[in-house]
Symmetry: C2
Subunit: 116 residues, 2 copies
């Protein structure tokens, strides 16, 4: 079985998910299973240049800095975003491969698709 992350995975719909794979995927879906995190992900992904500084994210929500920081950490540890410090600010960007992989898992067509 192709358990490799870069080679990726058969879609959910084609064959039963193996135990280990389900744990990995669930971790990523779970990270997206919170409205705040989903919006953070979207804010980052859709921001110009494909990246956003924490300072641009904090103001959007009625939440304290530490809470935003916590959510970003969850997204980062799930492998959905990457953070990079540049001077005073820390910039986050999404990992398109990760989103693509999750997207692929969900539809029967799955991997083969990819309309360039």
């Amino acid at each position: 079985m192709s358990n490799n992350q870069s080679d990726c995975c058969s879609p959910l719909v084609r064959e039963p998910l193996a135990g280990q794979q389900s744990v990995e995927l669930a971790r990523q879906f779970k990270a997206m299973g919170d409205p705040v995190r989903l919006r953070l992900l979207s804010l980052i992904a859709s921001h110009e240049g494909g990246e956003a500084c924490v300072c641009e994210l904090t103001g959007v929500f009625d939440l304290t800095g530490p809470t935003i920081s916590h959510h970003l950490k969850v997204l980062r540890e799930a492998g959905l975003i990457d953070g990079e410090r540049r001077g005073t600010w820390i910039y986050y960007r999404v990992r398109p491969q990760a989103l693509q992989r999750l997207s692929d898992v969900l539809v029967p067509g799955g991997l083969p698709v990819r309309a360039g």
Copy 2:
């Protein structure tokens, strides 16, 4: 903004998710954020005929009936599966539209794609 569920949604990557939409989507992603539920979903989706009876799902896990039932309820209330009683048994099947929608949200191409 096309906030309509059937018309669907712009992908995460194109523009920031609105508050209400993020809550709905998060609910579905959250439902998939558990290894057992992901495997259940996969078992149902990949089962012959596109449906599976609860009795076929229970034996797969080292979990009690009530627990499986609970997870199925979560998936059902998230709109990811549908259940139907036929005689003694209850059969579940996935809602392909729901999975498709989630898949679409995750990639930049989003809706327009669809390589037949």
